[in-house]
């Protein structure tokens, strides 16, 4: 298989990965910026939701790392 075909195959595989909409991104987009930082009062008001979103992000990140490590552990396979 040529390099171009390899790339096409990987792009096709990545397209199949479902889109991940992290709650954290939605939340921080809803918080106004004040003094170059998130608005303190708004963050306090949304504290519970933010804590939940942070946990979700950390779990997502941990799973991603596991997947990356699993891929890196795969041994190269000779082409048939």
């Amino acid at each position: 298989m040529s390099q171009a075909e390899d790339i096409d195959r990987i792009v096709a595989a990545l397209r199949k990965v479902p889109e991940k909409k992290l709650l954290l991104i939605q939340l921080v987009n809803s918080i106004p910026i004040k003094n170059g930082e998130f608005d303190y009062l708004e963050v306090q008001n949304k504290k519970l939701a933010i804590n939940l979103a942070i946990q979700e992000t950390k779990v997502y990140g941990a799973h991603t790392m596991q997947a990356v490590e699993a891929l890196m552990a795969l041994k190269p396979k000779a082409e048939v």
Binding site: L24, V28, N35, G36, E37, F38, Y40, V43, I50, I54
Partner: protein, 412 residues
């Protein structure tokens, strides 16, 4: 204070040929924020709010400039504008705002009791200090013997000629081998040692008796024969501290300028007021200021207080000074005077250091010829250590406990 201009320069670094291009590159790097960056920003929002409050309290007119800077440059900006408005902060500008808001950076330059006795200062300061009365006369710390109130290595010629017998050598070998590293051995006659390693022990305590002195001197001779390192800090007795506190200082100065000059200095030295009277307005101006500094009476907190005069929160290695308007106002109003005094002392110290023996001889002769009779204050009965306590607002133990309790209530 006692370290010279090179250290001052290091505290205020400026690039010689302009700022490096890496700073520009850092500013031009843009991209979507990392998830970890977002999480950190949310988690540290409380500290950021405290930092904003601090900026609004002290530098409200620069709030936009400071807060619009990248996070890792805000403390630097704060210091820059603070220095313009109040006084220069002795700051580690790389420190994150979270640590910054906990306490204001402060470099106390007062001469502490420990600092006086360690005598670890530049020659110009040592020479001038030799002219000044002992500032800690009457201090309670002089009212007790040091843990080793003599020099065990300087005990009589008779012991130096002594030759240890085989049994003496065996005794030290057996005693050390019976101890684990770090273990203490207390001799019933009145001394204590700790085994540092297989080839080293440290003397930690000793009673001031002829028997103990002799045994220790002999022990050091045996240790030397065995190739065992023996360490100790030679101290002084209560009497020596109370009546001859200036002797180690004069000995050190004698090593620098010779005995003839030192012999001319009055036994107790001069009071700061006398030195001011004699040297102010002359080419020796600065000597009186050094005397004020040594006696903690310059009237400037930074120069009169040392870290020995502060409150400490348990577990903290340094006192925590609060960011209060009062502290900032005190330090700002004193800053011009601090600079003036510092400059006068340093100028005099530098002149003395240019030709230590001759310049000091010149200074001592000038003072003697002034014919001002040394004033002798009764410090022994009037000394009050609390007068030296740092008056700046500091975090204390009880306050920390209250804050912790308040946080626990908030969490509940």
């Amino acid at each position: 204070m006692m370290r010279g201009p090179l250290v001052e320069e290091a505290h205020n670094p400026r690039p010689q040929d302009g700022w490096s291009l890496s700073l520009l590159a850092e500013m031009l790097q843009v991209g979507p924020p990392l998830l970890t960056g977002i999480i950190n920003a949310l988690n540290s929002i409380g500290d950021v709010q405290k930092f904003v409050n601090l900026v609004q309290l002290l530098l409200p007119e620069y709030e936009n400039e400071i807060m619009s800077a990248p996070r890792n440059k805000r403390v630097y900006k704060f210091c820059f504008y603070f220095g313009k408005k109040y006084y220069p902060l002795p700051a580690n500008t790389d420190c994150p705002p979270a640590e910054w808001v906990d306490g204001m950076p402060l470099e106390l330059m007062g001469l502490s009791y420990g600092g006086y006795h360690e005598l670890d200062m530049r020659p110009g300061y040592l020479l001038m200090l030799a002219l000044v009365v002992y500032p800690y006369e009457g201090d309670e710390r002089d009212a007790e013997d040091d843990s080793i109130p003599f020099n065990p290595a300087a005990w009589g010629n008779s012991v130096k000629k002594w030759k240890p017998a085989a049994a003496d050598i065996q005794w030290l070998k057996d005693m050390l081998s019976s101890l684990a590293v770090g273990a203490h051995w207390v001799a019933p006659m009145g001394f204590e040692i700790v085994k540092v390693s297989e080839k080293e022990f440290k003397l930690t305590n000793a009673a001031d008796t002829p028997d103990v002195k002799e045994v220790l001197a002999r022990t050091l001779i045996i240790a030397e024969k065995l190739g065992i390192k023996a360490t100790f800090t030679a101290g002084r007795t209560k009497e020596q501290k109370e009546t001859a506190a200036r002797i180690p200082l004069l000995d050190k100065v004698q090593d620098i300028v010779g005995a003839e000059t030192v012999r001319k200095i009055p036994k107790h030295g001069w009071e700061p007021e006398d030195l001011h009277k004699m040297t102010d307005g002359t080419r020796f101006e600065g000597v009186g200021d050094l005397a004020d500094w040594a006696c903690g009476q310059t009237g400037c907190t930074l120069l009169d207080c040392s870290y020995e005069d502060c409150q400490y929160v348990e577990g903290m290695a340094a006192p925590i000074f609060k960011w209060t308007k009062r502290n900032v106002d005190i330090l700002t109003s004193e800053w011009p005077k601090v600079q003036e005094i510092h400059a006068r002392i340093d100028k005099m110290a530098q002149w003395l250091e240019q030709d230590q023996a001759n310049h000091f001889w010149e200074l001592v002769n000038f003072l003697i010829n002034c014919k001002v009779k040394p004033t002798r204050k009764d410090r022994m009965n009037t000394y009050d250590r609390s007068e030296r306590l740092c008056q700046l607002d500091q975090a204390d133990e009880y306050e920390e406990e209250d804050e912790q309790e308040q946080e626990e209530v908030n969490i509940d």
